[in-house]
């Protein structure tokens, strides 16, 4: 077990590096570079050549990557060519926003999915089940941005602007800057719609999965045995079925992280939130190489680490699964 764990931990590094290398190379394949935007009105060919030299953009791609790596190892994530801002600093400023969004979305998703799945599994093929399944089916089929637009329509443009349509207010204690808007209610106002938009889609998928895996467990040997032992229905289901159904749920939640990150990009763009999603997409479009690297690094890292955690949890939850 420990060997497996060690092996997986070591495996994180090359995976993350591979992803950042691919992103590095891909960004250099994008037509255009940041130097034109940097020089702006002052653009002349000679100046452009000089600037490219200064920032090392004229070296071969792999050499540039190794240089980036070298700085990274020393804790230096580089600085944006366009704005001069250190990438790590910007990433840390944006992180609380995205983190809060993702965590709250998952919480909302689970809060909807678990009861819905329970209803579906326990009262299979009844009205309640059909409703829950249909709603889940609908939720799976709506893109996040459309949910977001509908929410905006009702709560921001309608209802006299009950909820703000953009911006961010930080939770007390999480402000990473000198000047912040900080307030609990303000934060809730700003995070609610995006989190719902992102969470509803996940909830739908989770409901369907949780329900079917619960059904499967109910039919399987566990429950028959437990029933045979004479335990009553309710605790049997709740204790055994739910616990066992959590295994695939946890797995799927881990898989969902990829879509959460992607969904966060879209939702953050729609609600103009100062998070990592807008950071990444703005950086990609502006060809801000260093910032894109920072974005790729943190998303890849989060993605890989979460997958590892999911696998480990999976191992703990299901005693029959052991990895050699």
């Amino acid at each position: 077990m420990r060997v497996y764990l060690l092996r997986r931990l070591l495996h994180i590094v090359p995976t993350v590096l591979m992803i950042t290398l691919v992103v590095f190379v891909m960004m250099r394949s994008v037509p255009g570079d940041p130097v034109v935007a940097l020089l702006g009105d002052a653009y002349t060919e000679e100046d452009a050549v000089k600037v490219r030299e200064v920032y090392g953009l004229d070296k071969p791609v792999l050499v540039q990557y190794v240089i980036w790596l070298g700085k990274l190892v020393r804790g230096d994530w580089g600085a944006s060519i366009l704005s001069g801002r250190p990438v790590l600093q910007d990433v840390l400023v944006r992180l609380p926003v995205t983190l809060e969004l993702i965590l709250l979305s998952m919480a909302i998703a689970l809060a909807i999915a678990i009861p819905a799945a329970l209803i579906g599994a326990l009262r299979q093929n009844t009205w309640a089940d059909y409703t829950a399944t249909s709603v889940a089916m609908i939720g799976v089929s709506i893109p996040e941005f459309f949910i977001g637009v509908l929410l905006l329509l009702v709560f921001s443009f309608g209802l006299n602007g009950f909820l703000p349509s953009s911006g961010w207010v930080y939770l007390p204690g999480t402000c990473p800057m000198m000047v912040c808007g900080v307030s609990l209610w303000g934060n809730v106002q700003h995070v609610l719609m995006p989190a719902i938009a992102l969470g509803v889609g996940r909830a739908a998928i989770l409901t369907r999965l949780l329900r079917s895996s619960m059904l499967e467990v109910i039919r399987s040997e566990y429950v028959t045995t437990a029933r045979a032992k004479g335990l009553s229905e309710r605790p049997v289901v709740l204790k055994h079925a739910l616990k066992n159904a959590l295994i695939p749920t946890v797995t799927v939640m881990g898989l969902q992280v990829g879509f959460l990150i992607g969904g966060a990009i879209v939702v953050e763009t729609l609600f103009a939130m100062p998070g990592l999603g807008t950071f990444g997409i703005d950086a990609i479009i502006a060809r801000d190489y260093q910032q894109v690297q920072g974005f790729a690094l943190i998303t890849a890292f989060a993605f890989v680490v979460i997958n590892l955690l999911v696998d480990l949890t999976y191992t703990f939850l299901d005693p029959r699964i052991r990895y050699a």
Binding site: P31, G32, D33, P34, V36, A37, L38, L39, G40, D41, A42, Y43, T44, E45, D47, K50, V51, A79, L82, S83, G84, R85, P86, D90, V93, R94, S156, F157, G161, P164, S165, S166, G167, W168, M177, M178, V179, A272, P274, T278, F279, D282, I285, A286, R287
Partner: protein, 534 residues
């Protein structure tokens, strides 16, 4: 009850005094408060001498100070300069600085720092976008700590305009701070690195979040600025901007999308909407030459396969485009159809619309002469960048109008960075729709239009434009200048080097409680006279 005589007189006096004083009281600026501003685009970075973009400029005008400023009616007022004299031959400008003007780091703004700043701007190593404006300067001399003299190589009629308002105008840099901190420090807004002599000092800049500037207590105008703080947020989506404005979350929108102005008037009827005659040209530029050897920016040119032919340019740009229709659809009529390169609100502008009336029959005939017709239809690409959705709208209308001539225009929408890369690096393009930069004088357009500038996208390489601009800039007699301006406008139209459609309207929106702001288009955005009436 009758008051004793003396007290009744006093009472009357007091009443009078109240009547006299009260309205003035209501107008006296209140000190304090935070002005919350919204920008539609990100600030590039905070090295004022090299950063591109209006958003940076409007910050630079408040954190930094210069020698002079310009009022909306074209008069010059002193900023750090108390007074100035121009020698009769126009070659010597002597500025006397105000005493006790300080940089935010406490060092004095003196003649040496003025020299330092101008030298820095002129230095090729600084790579400032404003370097070309200082081309006429021979040298800067320090006469005494408060007197600085600028010597020109040749007369330059727009020296003061340039120092006041070409892009940021001259922004004075503190020699101490500039030497202590690196370029990257300034770019990122590191505390202490961005130092100016303006009414506000930089507190914090977090790209993607906000920029905060606080009152500089030792500002050289006593009592100003009234505001404690200015906080700038970037809200890219106009609808979100409107929603935030309506909810009272922001006080001032620095540049509001013209398409949504009508909507805003409905949403926020009490808003102060400021605009004026357009000072930015809206172009449908056509590429005139391409590199002869295929290498971008090559000195060897050959005519563009389609628009290298003057007849085609005139057919499409002059007679084939219905400017009125474009203005009606894209701007709902709230812009001026305009053929001249110099926008309606710019100094010395001349109306040359009569040179290019909409005449599709003539356009078709000219195209036929150039060899295009049903057997060989004219086909070209229009690129529009997505910075403003109006570019795509205009491109679509042009496409329609081209269809009436039997020509096909294909529209490509690209992001701004791609557009810049393509046009600045002599990439392949036929026509683009964009509104470039605002022009306070025709002279400030020189760097766009003259033959060698990288920003002269059509690459017409016609040296005659350089001569015209030079003559214009050196002519000190305003009447003669106006004549040259007319010549320039007509020259461009005759050769269709720059195909202008209309002016590009500019709007600023303020809450009713924001008072004291002086609207001067994109050129001067100053918060030191602003106060909040709440």
């Amino acid at each position: 009850m009758r008051l004793p005589a003396r007290s009744s007189a006093l009472a009357t006096l007091l009443t009078f005094a109240w009547v006299l004083v009260a309205p003035a009281d209501a107008q006296a600026p209140k000190r304090g408060g935070t002005l919350r501003v919204s920008y539609g685009n990100e600030i590039a970075h905070l090295d004022f001498h090299t950063a591109p973009g209006y958003e940076m400029m409007w910050v630079a005008m408040n954190i930094g100070c210069g020698l002079v400023n310009i009022t909306p009616d074209g008069r010059f007022v002193g900023d750090a300069a108390e007074s100035w004299q121009v020698a009769p031959d126009g070659l010597l400008y002597t500025f006397k600085l105000k005493k006790s003007v300080l940089f935010h780091d406490g060092t004095a703004v003196d003649a040496a720092s003025v020299k330092f700043s101008i030298d820095r701007l002129m230095d090729p190593n600084t790579k400032s976008g404003m370097r070309s404006f200082y081309e006429s300067i021979h040298s800067v001399e320090v006469l005494d700590p408060l007197t600085v003299q600028i010597r020109l190589k040749h007369p330059y009629a727009f020296m003061l305009h340039m120092l006041a308002a070409y892009r940021t105008g001259l922004v004075l840099y503190s020699p101490t701070a500039t030497q202590k901190f690196s370029l990257e420090d300034r770019k990122q807004g590191k505390p202490g690195a961005v130092v100016g002599c303006g009414p506000f000092k930089l507190v914090e800049w977090v790209k993607g979040s906000h920029l905060v500037m606080d009152r500089f207590d030792k500002y050289f105008v006593a009592g100003q600025p009234y505001l404690d703080r200015v906080m700038i947020r970037v809200i890219k989506d106009p609808v979100a901007e409107m929603a935030a404005f309506k909810a009272g979350e922001i006080d001032f929108i620095a540049s509001f999308s013209p398409e949504h102005v009508d909507n805003l008037k409905v949403q926020a009827p009490k808003a102060q909407i400021m605009t004026g005659k357009e000072t930015t040209p809206m172009l449908a530029a056509m590429k005139v030459t391409v590199p002869a050897d295929g290498k971008p920016m090559s000195k060897e040119r050959k005519p563009h396969p389609i628009f290298g032919d003057l007849k085609v340019r005139k057919a499409v740009g002059c007679y084939g485009i219905d400017r009125k229709e474009i203005v009606k659809i894209a701007f709902k009529g709230q812009a001026t159809p305009w053929v001249g390169m110099n926008p309606p609100g710019t100094l010395d502008t001349v109306d040359v619309n009569h040179l290019c009336p909409y005449d599709p029959a003539k356009a078709k005939a000219m195209l036929a002469e150039a060899g295009y017709g049903p057997s060989k239809p004219l086909t070209f690409d229009i690129i529009a960048d997505n910075e403003k959705s109006v570019f795509n709208v205009i491109a679509t209308v042009i496409k329609e109008q081209m269809a009436r001539l039997g020509a096909t225009a294909n529209i490509r929408v690209v992001d701004k960075v791609s557009w810049m890369n393509t046009t600045l690096q002599d990439g392949p393009w036929d026509m683009y729709v964009e509104d470039l930069l605002s022009l306070i004088t025709l002279d400030s357009n020189g760097y766009l239009s003259n033959s060698s500038s990288t920003w002269s996208h059509p690459r017409h390489n016609d040296k005659r434009t350089d001569e015209l601009y030079a003559r214009y800039a050196r002519e000190l007699d305003p009447a003669k200048r106006k004549a040259i301006a007319k010549e320039i406008q007509e020259f461009f139209v005759e050769n269709m080097y720059w195909n202008n459609i209309s002016g590009s309207p500019f709007y600023m929106v303020a809450q009713p409680w924001m008072k004291g702001y002086t609207y001067n288009a994109e050129f001067e955005v100053h918060y030191h006279t602003v106060w909040l009436d709440k």
